[in-house]
């Protein structure tokens, strides 16, 4: 909260005093502030909005604030950093973070072919719009289609720490290409965040001890580390004006979350007085390999933008739980449960299509009005239990630019979720958002 209190007046000061562009000093300062309102209706689901707990009440816990500075101290070298604070339901809480901070050096190879080397914390470039997830001023919709832009992987996809090489290649009549790759790692907060919660869900187990089922849940993580986080993408601006194609991939290995979980004996069964007794043991969740590949096509024709993307993720993981020891309680004998290792593999597939049209035939400011529609389809299959679930969503959004740097937009999204048992639940998400930037 303290960081938010400091950041908001800072943004206002920068905007008001015209410090935003100080070209004479060789640097620029820019920023944006977005505030939203979101309300869920019906059976809200995890992805409803960034893991917010099921709650039909509306909320203003939906904002982003950022400020950046970029400078070119010498030819071919650009350095900069962006600080961001966001609040997305139970995540973020407007704590100040480094969104990106890097130096980039451009190396011209020949006419139409150059390479740049980046070091620091940088955007991954994954899929078409992942880098712009927090930039409401760059799209009509409030939310990106979650089938490709998963809420759970928000912090994981946004940026990486390491080194990146980018290349622009002018292929003449064949258009142009952007080729990029990076090697690095990733920071994951062990105390909060959507990805931390994904790991935490791995501690929720039900263990058969013969006389009933132990239930377990995470107490805390000591650490979450990622040994390697690498990625690459290839984008082709085709000879057809406005048409681009992109393939991008991310790979991580040896991701490990280590901590303590609590195990509780069943409250009914054969254990008599010791029912409900709890004990603690270790939990290690190790993702051996995680892989994502995303394919996309986008076509911009005048005021119409059509896009479609498809993504597939695959991972193998194991959950290692320590031994459980429940001491005897009165006449009830103790329970000893040996430690165990559970292997898991999972594959998901997601896709969407969207169309955005800017109503430029309208007069004045209304010409910035846009409409958007999307259809998402998710499938998650676990080969060990053959369980799969689907999520289908459809959305429509309207955006109105009040002035050049100030806009408001609204979106309605209908969600249908089909669980692995075939049960269907429905939900609605209504959101409003306003953004200004400088």
């Amino acid at each position: 909260m303290r960081s938010r209190l400091l950041l908001i007046p800072s943004l206002a000061l920068l905007a008001g005093t015209g410090v935003a562009q100080a070209m004479d000093l060789g640097f620029q300062i820019h920023g944006f502030a977005s505030q939203g309102y979101v309300q869920t209706d019906g059976d809200a689901y995890e992805g409803g909005w960034y893991g917010r707990d099921t709650n039909n009440a509306g909320s203003f816990e939906f904002n982003e604030f950022a400020v950046n500075v970029v400078a070119t101290p010498i030819d071919r070298l650009r350095i900069g950093a962006q600080f961001i604070a966001y609040d997305l339901g139970k995540y973020g809480n407007d704590e100040l973070q480094i969104d990106w901070a890097f130096g980039e050096y451009l190396i011209p190879i020949s006419d139409g072919f150059d390479i740049s080397v980046v070091a620091g914390r940088f955007k991954t470039g994954h899929a078409f719009y992942n880098d712009y997830r927090d930039l409401d001023m760059t799209r009509t919709s409030v939310f990106l289609p979650r089938s490709v832009y998963s809420a759970s992987f928000r912090d994981f996809f946004l940026a990486a720490n390491g080194a990146q090489v980018n290349s622009n290649i002018d292929a003449g009549g064949f258009g142009s290409f952007i080729v990029s790759g990076f090697l690095g790692t990733q920071n994951i907060d062990e105390d909060q965040g959507p990805l931390r919660d994904v790991f935490a869900s791995g501690a929720n187990q039900s263990i058969n001890i013969g006389v009933g089922f132990l239930t377990t849940e995470l107490k805390n993580f000591d650490y979450i580390r990622v040994e390697n986080f690498n990625g690459a993408h290839l984008e082709w601006a085709t000879p057809l004006e406005g048409m681009r194609l992109k393939v991008s991939s991310l790979y991580a290995d040896n991701m490990e979350a280590s901590g303590t979980m609590t195990a509780t004996l069943p409250v009914s069964g054969f254990l008599g007085a010791s029912s409900g007794q709890s004990t603690e043991t270790s939990i290690d969740i190790v993702v051996d390999h995680w892989f994502d590949i995303t394919l996309g096509a986008e076509y911009v024709w005048s005021d119409l933008t059509i896009a479609a993307e498809m993504t597939s993720q695959y991972y193998t993981a194991k959950t290692i739980t320590g031994a459980l020891d429940f001491p005897p309680f009165g006449a009830t004998p103790g329970v000893d449960q040996a430690g165990s290792t559970t292997n898991l593999a999972n594959r998901t597939l997601g896709a969407y299509g969207s169309a955005t049209y800017q109503l430029s035939m309208l007069p004045g400011a209304w010409k910035r009005l846009g409409v958007f529609g999307a259809f998402n389809w998710d499938r998650s299959t676990n080969p060990y239990s053959d369980a799969s679930s689907y999520t289908r969503t459809g959305a429509v959004a309207l955006r109105y630019d009040i002035v050049d740097h100030f806009l408001i937009k609204g979106e309605f999204e209908r969600v249908q979720e089909t669980s692995s048992s075939g049960a269907r639940v429905y939900g609605n998400i209504f959101s409003l958002k306003t953004t200004f930037d400088f």
Binding site: A66, N68, A81, D131, D134
Partner: protein, 138 residues
């Protein structure tokens, strides 16, 4: 009486022709070594795909806030004003570019290019003056 009328008509036609033939040109800082640009170069520089000139010096893009010359530039780039602005915001907020300088008049644009090494602008050709060089786009 006929002669003044003829002169007036000729003058009117000349002015009309001059207005109709007003053409914009790309101008660079006078010290630039660049002799000409291709249409792809123009798009690359104005859309932020290239941030350095061939000699390694940085590109400083300057644009008009509005007006016929700006509209014609956008037409050459194949972008609407909002597409142009959004493209730059994507670069600025991911650390991959510096926002173009915006000026209110063609005279201001020419003056900015004249004093700023590495700058590129697009103005009415008649506005180009000392300190800037007009370069052809082929």
């Amino acid at each position: 009486m006929r002669i003044p009328l003829l002169i007036a008509l000729v003058s009117l036609v000349a002015v009309s022709a001059s207005t109709a033939m007003a053409e914009e040109t790309v101008i660079l800082n006078g010290a630039s070594a660049v002799a000409g640009l291709s249409e792809d170069d123009l798009k690359d520089y104005y859309l932020g795909k290239k941030s350095s000139w061939p000699d390694g010096s940085k590109v400083v893009v300057v644009v008009l806030k509005e007006g016929a010359s700006h509209e014609n530039l956008l037409s050459k780039l194949g972008k609407s004003n909002s597409q142009f602005t959004t493209g730059w915001k994507k670069l600025v907020f991911t650390g991959k570019g510096a926002m173009p300088e915006q000026v209110g008049s063609e005279d201001d644009l020419v003056a900015f290019v004249a004093k700023t090494p590495g700058s590129i602008g697009f103005v009415d050709a008649a506005k180009a003056k000392e300190g800037v060089k007009a370069v052809p786009v082929k």
